[in-house]
Subunit: 272 residues, 2 copies
DNA sequence: CATGTGAAG
DNA sequence: CTTCGCATG
């Protein structure tokens, strides 16, 4: 294991990069070089492998999995792992979504790690219907995954941009957003179901008090400077792994111009 | 007449701005404030009036005429004049092209000034057919214009991006461009006809020797730094006005990053 | 307000 | 290589 990681622990980060090409030019590469994470899940890569610079596509010391969307420039997830995956799977068995660059998972010893990019949705448009279809299908998949992983002696960690703030403490302006995609009652209830079904929100576990920590701030207006954010990026794990989480935090940039995405990395540390 | 202009002369500039909004941010506003021109013809404004900042739409001391295309973000011509026009006309009586933001003219005392943006064309595509249709219709209009203007006691000056280099001395790499739109034999012959029909190329009149002066350099490659340009922006005038032209030049930027368009202003000075 | 695409130049 | 429109976020 490379010396830069921490012995005895597993560190996992997830971040929606909002275009990996743009992020790479603005600081992602430096962040990648400095991080001590063992596994990194990316969302919204919005690139084909051929469009990526070598230091992004094949950074030294990392194994990379890319799952681009069949629609150019849209969605796309990736997983970077210092250890070589025992298996790689793209999609979750959905005819509609497996080519959409929204889900990939890898097997590591005793663990399945997934990168998820749930559709954003947009109330009153076909995007919201798409989000609902995805939620329904993915909910069933999570149940399936739990059983399969347990049978194989693996914990589960689904990291990504879930595009839903769960509770009032998960976004700054909850009152004005009750009818907006990302904080609809049915979306929140869907997350509640998942968290009551035996999956855990490891950041909230360690930070039961809000507000935040937020992981996304719109580029519009002064959202970042006002900390007018949303917590929509989660690391969702099976219970035993959750119980081994010793640290969890958002790597919020110090200033607006140090950002390389509208999301910040969310990182959790687990005892091995 | 404003003090910044030159007494006893009429100065006219023409420039393809390649997006007036972008140009305004990069230096067009400063150029406008500094110019001594009395009339300015713009092409490729690519904006609706509402999209323009006040200092561009209604600069102090200028009367402005905007002729946007009905296709958003495409083409568009404009005329800025320090004197109030006696009349304004958009289009040249063409069913196909009058809404396409490619022609506008104003009457000034003793003079008709027009801003023309001829289609660029692209060999082997419908764009080239469009260019040919435009050329045919516009050729007839020029004949008509000559007669009408003369009857009204006005000279004619048609300024703009004609998207055709006339002779070998009008582009750096004429050999490799003989089959490219903008230097096709039939396009060159069309310009020759116009110049032999009693319209004059005032810049070439004063600068019979080439190469150039070029007025456009592709953004691709190192065209500007290598002065690999084309002379496709012309001030085309009736003979009496042409005989009064005392100066004519291209305002080439000093360096690549001082440009605010891929074209440079072409300016001519006439004794009044 | 920002990232991509695609047409156009 | 650049502008702009549009879709998406």
């Amino acid at each position: 294991m490379p010396v830069v990681t921490l012995a005895g622990v597993l560190t996992v980060s997830t971040v929606n990069v909002n275009g990996l090409r743009a992020a790479a030019k603005k600081g992602f590469v430096e962040w990648l070089a400095a991080t001590r994470a063992d596994v990194i899940c990316l969302q919204e890569t919005r690139a084909e492998p051929e469009q990526l610079a070598p230091e992004v596509l094949e950074p030294a010391g990392w194994h990379t999995v890319l799952a681009p969307s069949s629609a150019k420039g849209r969605a796309g997830v990736a997983i970077y792992s210092r250890a070589e995956p025992e298996a790689v799977r793209i999609g979750f068995g959905s005819a509609e979504f497996d080519e959409s660059g929204r889900y990939a998972e890898i097997d590591l010893p005793g663990l399945v790690v997934a990168s998820l990019y749930l559709p954003s949705g947009d109330v009153g448009t076909p995007r919201q219907d798409e989000k609902e279809r995805f939620m329904k299908e993915f909910r069933a998949y999570l149940e399936d995954l739990r059983g399969r992983a347990a049978a194989a002696g693996r914990e589960v960690l689904v990291c990504g941009d879930w595009n839903i703030a769960h509770q009032q403490i998960d976004l700054k302006n909850w009152k004005s957003n009750q009818k907006e995609a990302g904080f609809l009652p049915e979306e929140r209830a869907w997350l509640t179901e998942i968290f009551e079904s035996g999956y855990e929100d490891v950041v909230r576990n360690l930070h039961p008090e809000g507000p935040g920590p937020y992981s996304w701030w719109s580029y519009r207006g002064k959202a970042f400077d006002n900390d007018s954010g949303w917590r929509i990026d989660y690391l969702v794990s099976s219970p035993d792994l959750a119980s081994r989480c010793t640290d969890a935090y958002v790597e919020r940039a110090e200033s607006y111009d140090q950002r390389w995405s509208d999301h910040a990395p969310v990182t959790a540390v687990f005892d091995r």
